[in-house]
Symmetry: none
Subunit: 429 residues, 2 copies
Amino acid sequence: MRTIIISIGDELVLGQVVDTNAAWLSERLVELGIVPEYHQAVPDNLAAIAETIKLAAQKADFIIVTGGLGPTPDDLTRQAMAAVAGVKLVLHGPSLKKLETFFKERGRVMSENNRVQAMFPKGADVLDNPIGTAPGFRIVFEKATIVVMPGVPKEMKLMFERHIVPMLTTRNAWLKIKSRSKVMTFKLNVFGVGESLVAEKLGKLMRRDRNPLVGTTVSAGIVAVRIRGEFIGGKTGARDPALPAMRKTADKIKCLLGDAVFSENDVSLAEVVGKMLRSARKTVVTAESCTAGLLAAMLTETPGSSAYFLGGWVVYSNKMKTENLAVPADLIIKEGAVSEPVARKMAEGALERSSADYALALTGIAGPAGGSKEKPVGTVWIALAEKKGGGIKTYAERFLFPGDRVSVRERAAKSAMNILRLRLMPAKI
Amino acid sequence: MRTIIISIGDELVLGQVVDTNAAWLSERLVELGIVPEYHQAVPDNLAAIAETIKLAAQKADFIIVTGGLGPTPDDLTRQAMAAVAGVKLVLHGPSLKKLETFFKERGRVMSENNRVQAMFPKGADVLDNPIGTAPGFRIVFEKATIVVMPGVPKEMKLMFERHIVPMLTTRNAWLKIKSRSKVMTFKLNVFGVGESLVAEKLGKLMRRDRNPLVGTTVSAGIVAVRIRGEFIGGKTGARDPALPAMRKTADKIKCLLGDAVFSENDVSLAEVVGKMLRSARKTVVTAESCTAGLLAAMLTETPGSSAYFLGGWVVYSNKMKTENLAVPADLIIKEGAVSEPVARKMAEGALERSSADYALALTGIAGPAGGSKEKPVGTVWIALAEKKGGGIKTYAERFLFPGDRVSVRERAAKSAMNILRLRLMPAKI
């Protein structure tokens, strides 16, 4: 079923508000087996709305429209829909009554403006809005069925579940979904390997004619390998015949990328590391210079992180490095604050001053200033110290992160978590 | 100038990622006096991309396309653009060279896949990408000028400022911006007052028929009061006749909201606090429990923050509070870790252990677990200690933040910065 999502509102086209409705609707539609053709956001302009709807009706069987159903003069979606369908707006008695009750119950006076919210294009079916003043409606234009809902996310979501989902899924659905193809999506998260190298390793798996289809996107240093399967006539449920094909593709990818795959779907790096620490009954502390608390903040994003995260030091000034973590002042002078020995001393100092099993330390140049030829902006030393047989064993690694200050700091903190993750991985025989 | 914004990516149409690029581009375009016709998001499908571009070219003079320029086989924007223009993709020597250097400098091997990122539709002008591997390009198709940029927000934003803004604003701009109404926007940022109270205080200023128009949006605890003026035939530049009207409205708002207005346009709370500390030649340290480094990380987002931020302690466990900041263990037992005396002791302990002038401390319940009737989730104590006449003076305040773990932590860190901001404000006679 060809489906198009249209969002209406000046605030979207002016960039004052990000359109989250379209993404939410897409996600729900995909879960129901429908992949939208496109999203479009148009202003509160009668002609523009009408033109957009007409064009969409030529291309799709099903159109979801949100926004422009408010009571004010800039809300024009119902007028545009009436114009498209070539009908008048008519007053819907039950809706007017509900509207009046809505205001009465809240001790508010209904303004004359609100009356328009009980008006619908002639022939439309009204879709009740249980939590707001703007009901939606359904109308058929040419071969397309169009549903219109308010743009307030909370109201739209509730109405989608209550009215649209049953339309799409019940046996005697008003829309005959012909030999509907079912779409499933699945995501593997990869860290420490660039997007192009991932693609190279995956090779033929990324061919565009493959099913399941494999694609990659990158965000804040994490490469998401997305698997999308399209299955004609597939059934939903645990015994879904589509599942093995998806799983097989995921397994192939895991095999090709190895330890770089850290999680599936929406599980973060911090969650993975937390789970590993928890099951190993180990604890960690942090010693941060360039990231200045970002690593500690990331590690504690997960509820219950106090089970494995004890605390940390933000030693931004050299004096604090020396006074709080006993990094020798002359070492800093000799090697520089961004150096392997300083990173090691920071990690070891943190470990010694706590009861933790591991200490992660970072020192680097986040930029934009402070870089040199030997130590350009983006240079970060990360050290992992751990208690071992009465002593301390320390590992250190140098990184050169691309991007601006925000990127360098974020990648550095994630790389530190990744070092600990790799350390906590079970040994392979 | 009729302008259309097109975003490309399966992840957008599948609802896995919210399209923030289109909103950002719109906001910037509006600031430059251009109101886009519409936004459209299309999947990584050559035919769909080509069809969308062709249609847009019939309706617009200027088209901004983002996404689909990565190195992998699902990145098809450059191929689609070549198909639209009816030309081949050709290798661009200087871009290939830059690409090779990019990888070399980072000690990484360039994969064969990356070569495609140096290929462009024949006749296109290459737009350099200073921080990523995907350059953009500009191409003319029929009457429309099309610019294509990568979808990575950071790269796209930088390239927009560097390449697109000059195209649109220089005197001999390749695009003639014909006489039209000019839109200006301006933003005041407010902290510590809710959106509805802001609206109540602003009263008539928020009438929808007013010009400049005043609206509010809220994000992560910060209320943005947006002023949007529409001026027919206005000119750009410092002597712009539109400016006094905008400025007058802004002044009225500042007067009504007082100290709650902390900055204009895109200046963050951390930047404001940093500037105040710097000009007062004062320094700060942090002691964090529930925020676990988030405050320190926020304070150091601004380049050059080492001038006023020395470092901090993340004392997540009670043991670390006692061992590192000398918070008495029996005090924690008696009052609880989330209490006024513990917050005070944390701030004072941090101040005593550093050479800073101020110490900010936070202890609270970020949730989802750990709440009680007396101390529900969202309860946070914030203390500010400062050196005063040989001793220490400490201020403490209790907050109850709404929302989930992420919100509570973010609001807590911002509230701590706000307390310091208010402390640093010049006294009013």
